[in-house]
């Protein structure tokens, strides 16, 4: 268990001119789950490899608690990693696979056995302990990889690099629950890299949004969703992403802050009203119902207004192609650099 902090870390791959990671700063609290969320190629896996010691940054310092580990070899860092695709020792059975890190570390047999039984019962691995690795399904293989990561006692941190990518949604959900259980059991610091926002938001204590090798926002999932610091985060998080319209669109109803360039609002922060009532209006281009509330179809409407496209969630019973009014109940303002304007000051 350790607090992990990046201090101005920069990294570029050999032969590449651009820096994959640029002056990166981040502190991961001890014992918490942090999700690193970003698009493919944003550098999140690189960050994980730097923490694990599989890549060495050209500049900057990495600390585990107070100790600098920037140049420390991976095997001396006391960390474990679960990879995107399960990595097993193919010639060993499940039990030997899971026990391997403890045997390498020469942990006393009794202590090793206790750890082993705890992890296996949490992950419900007992029926397959004697199976050969090659006879396992993809899901089972990944559970075994996870067990091998979490079995080690006194880990500084566990890193997971999109471990659920290859699984079906139902299995993803099961495995996510199990990973969280394991993390709670030991209170180990965990970093979870993913490009799946549902996964990140539902799972983590804090979410770090990574874009082009830099940390854009680090906050609790709720804050990330409700107060994205940039339009990028607003657009990237949420399904659908945040709506952005030019600030003038809002000025027709009331005044926006001086520097405001754009207004942003979530689809559910707006509602349908009669034309002229809400200040905004537009033509419904499409409507996707997801459920029925009070006998009215409820869903997401795509609306084309004079200011641009927007999506609004709500009950809608008219047909597609009609013009409707839209009222905003809540909105955020962004300046010309696409950064959130803090209304409190």
């Amino acid at each position: 268990m350790a607090e992990i902090s990046f201090q101005d870390i920069s990294f570029s791959y050999e032969g590449s001119e651009t820096e994959t990671i640029k002056d990166f700063r981040l502190t991961i609290e001890n014992g918490k789950i942090l999700s690193l969320l970003g698009k493919s190629g944003s550098g999140k896996t690189t960050l994980l490899k730097i923490m694990a010691g599989l890549l060495s940054p050209q500049r900057g310092h990495l600390f585990f608690d107070r100790g600098e580990v920037t140049q420390l070899a991976a095997k001396k860092r006391d960390i474990a990693q679960v990879f995107q695709f399960p990595v097993l020792y193919e010639s060993m059975n499940v039990e030997d696979n899971i026990m391997f890190p403890l045997r390498v570390k020469k942990l006393p047999e009794i202590e090793a056995r206790q750890r082993f039984e705890k992890v296996c019962s949490l992950l419900e691995l007992n029926p397959i302990l004697k199976s050969q690795s090659k006879d396992l399904s993809l899901y089972q293989r990944q559970i075994v990889s996870i067990a091998r990561a979490f079995i080690r006692p006194n880990l500084k941190a566990v890193f997971l690099d999109e471990p659920l990518t290859a699984l079906s949604p139902k299995l993803k959900w099961q495995l996510r629950k199990k990973i969280k259980m394991l993390q709670r059991e030991d209170g180990v610091t965990m970093v979870y890299v993913t490009h799946d926002q549902t996964e990140a938001l539902s799972f983590a204590d804090k979410v770090g949004i990574i874009d082009a090798g830099a940390l854009v926002q680090l906050d609790e999932p709720k804050t990330i969703y409700e107060r994205p610091l940039t339009t990028f985060v607003g657009d990237f998080i949420g399904n659908p992403g945040m709506n952005f319209l030019p600030a003038e669109a809002f000025n027709t109803q009331s005044d926006s802050p001086k520097k405001a360039n754009k207004i942003g609002f979530r689809a559910e922060w707006a509602e349908f009203v009669e034309i002229g009532e809400g200040g905004l209006s537009g033509k419904v281009v499409s409507f996707e119902a997801d459920r029925t509330r009070d006998h009215e179809p409820h869903g997401t409407a795509s609306i084309r207004s004079d200011w641009g496209q927007m999506r609004v969630k709500g009950s809608y019973q008219k047909s597609v192609g009609k013009t409707v009014g839209v009222r905003l109940n809540n909105q955020l303002f962004f300046d010309s650099n696409n950064t959130l304007i803090n209304e409190d000051g």
Binding site: A74, K75, R77, V87, M92
Partner: protein
């Protein structure tokens, strides 16, 4: 209802292959089997002798020593070439121009015909003008492979290792290259030592290529003929006379067709048996 038109003429298409296989494999083999049960004095005088040539061959001390020699040779080169080949492969860079250069360099010995290899080493090891022979004498080892059985063996093993370790190295290299990085990274994070990484990550992945390498070297070395013939001529004495050369002496030199045929059949069965044993043992382990 089967409405398809039956036309067995298609079988005629197989005929050429059948003929080739018959003439290249079945008929010669059966001729040998036929000879091995007869005493052939000349073209018109031949007698059926049953298993006489077989029991004679199996009890012949020259056959037994040649066979033992053969086993020793094959076991020695396998024991050296397989580990050495793996080590060479492990020492190679994973990619880049250097790797390509080394691969080309490694392939050179494999492209040289056997009798040329024999000639190269015959010259190379000569104590009067050969680079190796002269150097070894210069270093204080009284080296003359034509006079000493152990030195003849040494030269022969060196030659075979030079000739064929590349094969094992190339096969192992291709096996190692197919291991994805996360396997190494996981082992490193688990704290595995170099040896443990080799034992539990690399060796299991190399298994199939090593089976092929071992089988190829086993069969090939068991049939070795040209190189020792050129290098040592089977000598000094008969200290480097292996099975093939012994057989050639019987069949071509002494024209003992019956015993030579029996010898051939035994030889053939042994190789078959060896490979079968090796293969079934290795395969049964993996299940």
């Amino acid at each position: 209802m089967d409405n398809r038109v039956k036309d067995n003429r298609a079988w005629l298409g197989v005929l050429p292959v059948l003929l080739i296989v018959a003439f290249s494999g079945v008929i010669p083999l059966m001729t040998v089997v036929n000879y091995s049960f007869q005493d052939i004095l000349d073209f018109d005088n031949r007698f059926f002798v049953g298993f006489q040539w077989y029991s004679q061959t199996l009890n012949d001390p020259r056959f037994i020593t040649a066979f033992a020699r053969q086993l020793l040779f094959t076991a020695s080169i396998l024991a050296i070439e397989i580990p050495l080949g793996i080590m060479v492969a492990k020492g190679m860079p994973r990619q880049g121009k250097k790797a390509t250069a080394i691969l080309l360099f490694l392939a050179v010995p494999l492209l040289i015909p056997s009798n040329v290899v024999g000639t190269i080493w015959q010259l190379f090891a000569r104590p009067d003008i050969g680079l190796m022979g002269v150097s070894l004498n210069y270093l204080g080892w009284n080296f003359n492979y034509t006079a000493s059985a152990s030195q003849a063996w040494f030269t022969l093993l060196a030659m075979d290792i030079w000739h064929w370790t590349s094969l094992v190295a190339l096969l192992s290299y291709s096996g190692l290259r197919s291991i994805p990085d996360p396997y190494y990274q996981a082992a490193e994070l688990d704290g595995a030592s170099h040896w443990q990484t080799f034992r539990w990550v690399e060796l299991p992945k190399l298994k199939s290529v090593l089976i092929i390498a071992t089988l190829l070297r086993l069969m090939d070395s068991f049939m070795i003929y040209t190189e020792p013939l050129v290098l040592t001529g089977g000598g000094p004495g008969s200290s480097t006379t292996f099975l093939s050369q012994h057989l050639a002496t019987m069949a071509v030199g002494q024209f003992d067709l019956g015993p030579a045929a029996a010898f051939s059949v035994i030889y053939f069965l042994f190789i078959l048996l060896f490979c079968w044993f090796f293969y079934t043992i290795v395969m049964s382990e993996s299940d």
